[in-house]
């Protein structure tokens, strides 16, 4: 049950997207997010959708996975839709007592939802096609200029790698502790909100205790193998920018340009 949780799960593959340099993927993902947020009308948002429609088939990740990544944030999408629908002024389409739905409200709601879905689908594509290790590698490299201002970039990247590595371990641990407490009659599945939150205490405390214990053991084991930070470490995997990355960058640049042009010139269903 709890093992079904996917947070940025990686699906190994051989597609061009998989083979891209993780640094480029990271940069292009950021560019895509920027594109979604500067898009202020239906046409430019459509460019964002089209981008996904090109990239997903190339990556070989099935559409089902998009649904799976969007599922957890459905409540947020629903709230966004409702808020926009009822609280934006415009021509009234439908009125019931004090609640009214306006044309502008409906348009904004639909577009906001599209934007959120694109945002999630786009960023998930990166985590679906990039192994967590490659991702932290990329982050470390991209941020390494910040070492000049004494930011511990390597340490932060190492912490992220370790955190990612321990997610499955901790999930397994949680499962075990939950079983053990259930065996002692803990009631996790029923009750009101307060009762349910209180029922988490017997699970969270042992989980924290064991996480600290593991951290201490790991630190010791790393020191025993002479780990002393990033200074002078070489890497096993070298990152290379290749032809693929150039092509991807060009495609994204074209889309970004198209979105900006659409913003300026095609003013259909403008947001705000």
């Amino acid at each position: 049950m709890i093992k079904d949780i996917t947070i940025g799960q990686f699906f190994p593959g051989e597609s061009p997207i998989h083979r891209m340099d993780p640094r480029m993927k990271l940069i292009l993902t950021v560019a895509y997010i920027v594109m979604l947020f500067i898009a202020n009308n239906a046409a430019s948002l459509l460019v964002g959708v089209i981008f996904l429609l090109i990239v997903y088939p190339v990556s070989g990740i099935s559409g089902k996975m998009v649904l799976r990544s969007v599922k957890p944030i459905l409540p947020i999408i629903a709230i966004t839709a409702v808020l926009n629908m009822f609280f934006i002024d415009g021509e009234v389409l439908f009125q019931l007592w004090k609640i009214r739905i306006t044309d502008k409200g409906v348009i904004t709601a639909v577009m906001m939802c599209a934007r959120i879905v694109c945002l999630i689908a786009g960023t998930s594509l990166m985590t679906y096609t990039t192994s967590p290790i490659a991702l932290t590698d990329a982050i470390e490299r991209l941020f390494s200029p910040l070492k000049k201002i004494k930011l511990p970039v390597h340490e932060v990247a190492m912490m992220m790698t370790i955190a990612l590595r321990f997610i499955p371990t901790l999930i397994e641990e949680t499962d075990k502790i939950m079983s053990a407490q259930k065996a002692r009659g803990a009631d996790i599945e029923s009750g009101n909100l307060v009762q349910r939150i209180r029922a988490l205490v017997p699970i969270l405390i042992p989980l924290f205790v064991s996480a600290f214990r593991r951290a201490e053991e790991l630190a010791l084991a790393m020191e025993c193998r002479c780990y002393h930070g990033g200074e002078g470490r070489t890497r096993m995997r070298q990152l290379h920018l290749g032809k693929l990355d150039v092509v991807a960058a060009c495609v994204t640049a074209v889309c970004l340009a198209a979105a900006i042009l659409a913003n300026v010139h095609i003013q259909v269903f403008v947001l705000r």
Partner: protein, 289 residues
């Protein structure tokens, strides 16, 4: 035969159903465990022991088949499953990792508290359980996190004992303990069984422990039951056990060797104490001659 307390009917549990990774952890288990028995469960890693015992208190729901506790179908009403968790107490491997309260008292009281007992009743049960596991009264107000490993383990076992379950299941309660701690835990389980006449299921890797404490053994292999019989009959099949990667106790091997060499040593010796008595006897006779 005495009345059965646990019974399974074609019990099967599959992992990852509906995917290519589908695999049966246990398959078609038909088992009947009598009231008041002390049963040892042994098997290789991955033979399905842990999966089986988690069905006895309803932590896992069978993929197919039935589990009966005291004649009652466990999953007839899934909402009432907690009732069976109080009837069948399960002590997990490394149970000390489940401790969470500020004091030992509160932690042991967690189980009985969940049962909805009165405060007085809870207090009585906690005192009793701590006494059973041989911990002094003074420990009650300490934090469970400042105890030694062996003490933590006993507190965790007390936490289950305090629910006074009709069936007590322990999954490798001695894993990671030193020999002294191991004997202490196993002795307290034996004493508990002798006192209460409850059913006890002891999962272990060690044939020595099983032979010493359990009169009857369930051997699991490849998601099924390999044998379910008295200790003597099980160890008679030593060569088959060895093929499963299990073995008979070392002292039994020695005695069988002696018997092969022509000494009058009986083949059904499973504990060091038995062997000692038998050998002393033998030496005494030799001296007399």
């Amino acid at each position: 035969m005495a009345e059965s307390i646990l019974r399974t009917e074609n019990l099967t549990y599959k992992y990852s159903t509906g995917t290519v990774f589908e695999k049966a952890a246990i398959q078609d288990i038909n088992l009947e465990i009598e009231k008041g028995q002390f049963l040892g469960i042994i098997g290789h890693t991955g033979s399905g022991k842990s999966t089986l015992i988690q069905h006895f208190n309803g932590l896992l729901k069978p993929s197919s088949g039935k589990v009966y506790v005291d004649g009652e179908d466990m999953w007839a009403n899934p909402k009432a499953i907690r009732k069976f968790r109080f009837k069948v107490g399960l002590v997990f491997q490394y149970p000390e990792y489940q401790l969470f309260e500020e004091t030992v008292y509160k932690d042991v009281a967690f189980g009985p508290g969940n049962m909805g007992l009165s405060e007085g009743e809870v207090r009585e049960r906690v005192h009793h359980a701590l006494k059973l596991v041989g911990l002094p009264e003074s420990i009650q107000e300490k934090s469970p996190f400042e105890l030694s490993g062996g003490q933590k383990r006993r507190v965790a076992i007390a936490g289950v004992l305090a629910m006074e379950p009709e069936v007590l299941i322990l999954d490798e309660p001695t894993a990671g303990l030193d020999p002294h701690g191991r004997d202490m835990i196993l002795d307290l389980i034996r004493d508990y069984h002798a006192q209460r006449k409850n059913t006890v299921l002891l999962v272990s890797h060690s044939m020595e422990d099983i032979a010493k404490y359990a009169p009857k053994v369930l051997v699991m292999s490849k998601a099924g039951i390999f044998a379910y019989d008295d200790v003597k009959n099980i160890f008679d099949r030593a060569s088959e056990l060895e093929r499963l990667g299990l073995s008979v106790p070392q002292v039994t091997k020695i005695c069988r060797k002696l018997s092969e060499l022509g000494y009058p040593v009986p083949p059904d010796i499973y504990t060091v104490e038995q062997a000692r008595d038998c050998l002393l006897d033998l030496l005494g006779k030799g001296a007399a001659r």
